[in-house]
């Protein structure tokens, strides 16, 4: 296995975080807007087929940031639309991301059972 992927994961993931930190520090864009903005950006890049090449080069450095979530939403919708037609956009949207979403809900529930989720 090529060790270069570790280097690129570090550089690409770091660069994404660095840009976002600059946006937070230098603009008044709220956290929520940055989060959704990145997801939409990921959707656009995914739709244009530009994000997967980045994942191939940088691995986790590209899949961990939220942009990857937007990419997965777009890819799932496109793949299902190709298989089943227009309605596939709706049914396929969460196909690739359902693991993450379901895991978030189930683990939140389990953690809430043993902690004081009052924040």
């Amino acid at each position: 296995m090529d060790l270069k992927i570790y280097l690129f994961a570090f550089l690409v993931g770091g660069a994404i975080c660095f840009i976002c930190q600059l946006i937070l520090d230098l603009t008044k864009i709220p956290l929520g807007h940055l989060l959704t903005g990145l997801t939409i950006l990921g959707g656009i890049l995914g739709g244009l087929g530009l994000y997967d090449p980045l994942i191939k080069i940088a691995g986790g450095g590209a899949t961990m940031p939220i942009i990857s979530f937007g990419n997965s939403l777009a890819k799932g919708a496109i793949a299902e639309a190709e298989r089943t037609g227009v309605i596939g956009v709706l049914t396929g949207m969460f196909e690739l991301t359902s693991t993450g979403i379901t895991a978030a809900i189930i683990f939140s529930f389990l953690i809430a059972l043993v902690t004081k989720p009052k924040g």
Partner: protein, 335 residues
């Protein structure tokens, strides 16, 4: 009449005294430089309660009881309870009023509540409507931050100019028996809006309100900044205090070293990572009813002007893109 002087200031013919005070501070505040001035310091943010809201309520109630105990008064000897806090529908104050059983008027002035309560209480006393009034206010980091900013477990990154909501409660008993510093004048502020929309930068939003009320107080009374040992704003923080100073300098009022902010006194800003300082009703509540009250009693300070400012927005109003209107009330206390 004859008690109003100038446009917005009321001078008390028979100035009421602050007979006693009570302060309860959160654990984080208990590690700050004013720890020794607090009556009670909580071990944790829950204070043995199920929710943070109940914890805040228990703090406010305890602060009120401390003030009553110190003056050896029972709740039935108090004519009115004036209180306010930051939570929706001021639930902390109203639930506390329920457990105290004192006739109650709820106040909402956001972080200006301490001064609003002192001003209003003094008017009621000087007007002869009451003989003893209990004034109180509280804020809690975990309840206020999630209502106005982000859910606490979300862990949103804090901006460098952001302030830290104080966990604490302060109460003061006003009346004419016993001994204590006297409230001699109050300037009621106008709502000011210079177009600030950022709910994370409240110091900057509130600075013009503090400047406006201070300017008005000096104009109405003929006193000047040098007349006071200390002029203390509520929770402008580092940025707001600087802006307020600049704004008054533009109007020809130059504030010296005696001008400072409660929000800069509560935490050790080198060691406690609170960015621009403290905010919340309890910033002035803890400082004014704790250290400041004792310094006035001991004669270390003889003339103090408190200017508490409040941001009067709601989470709904700023999410709909409205500006953040602010207010400042000033209270003059003399030993």
């Amino acid at each position: 009449m004859g008690k109003k002087s100038g446009q917005q200031t009321f001078q008390f013919a028979n100035p009421p005294m602050i007979i006693s005070t009570g302060t309860v501070a959160g654990p984080f505040e208990g590690r700050g430089p004013l720890a020794s001035e607090m009556d009670v310091i909580l071990g944790d943010l829950h204070n043995g309660k199920t929710t943070f809201e109940q914890a805040e309520r228990s703090m406010l109630c305890q602060a009120c009881r401390l003030a009553l105990d110190q003056a050896s008064r029972s709740t039935s000897e108090v004519d009115l309870f004036l209180a306010g806090d930051l939570l929706n529908q001021i639930i902390t104050s109203s639930f506390t009023a329920l457990s105290l059983g004192i006739p109650y008027l709820g106040l909402y002035g956001a972080c200006s509540t301490a001064a609003e309560g002192l001003a209003l209480g003094s008017m009621l006393l000087d007007g002869g409507f009451c003989s003893t009034v209990l004034v109180a206010t509280s804020s809690h980091n975990a309840t206020a931050e999630r209502q106005y900013r982000y859910p606490t477990e979300y862990g949103g990154q804090r901006r460098p100019y952001q302030q830290w909501t104080v966990t604490g409660a302060g109460a003061a008993l006003l009346g004419y028996t016993g001994q204590g510093p006297r409230i001699t004048a109050a300037t009621i502020g106008k709502v000011v809006d210079l177009g600030c929309k950022d709910p994370l930068n409240l110091g900057a939003a509130m600075a013009p309100a503090a400047a406006d009320t201070l300017y008005r107080h000096f104009q109405d009374t003929g006193w000047n900044p040098d007349s006071f040992d200390l002029i203390l704003t509520g929770d402008l923080g580092e940025i707001g205090l600087k802006l307020c100073r600049e704004e008054l300098a533009e109007k020809g009022v130059h504030l010296g070293e005696n001008f400072y902010d409660c929000g800069l006194l509560i935490y050790d800003r080198e060691k406690q990572d609170v960015h621009a300082g403290a905010s919340g009703c309890a910033a002035m509540g803890l400082v004014a009813f704790g250290k400041l009250y004792r310094q006035l009693q001991k004669g270390e300070l003889s003339r103090v002007l408190l200017v508490a400012t409040g941001a009067l927005h709601s989470p709904t109003s700023y999410m709909q893109g409205e500006n953040i209107p602010c207010i400042g009330h000033a209270v003059r206390i003399e030993a």
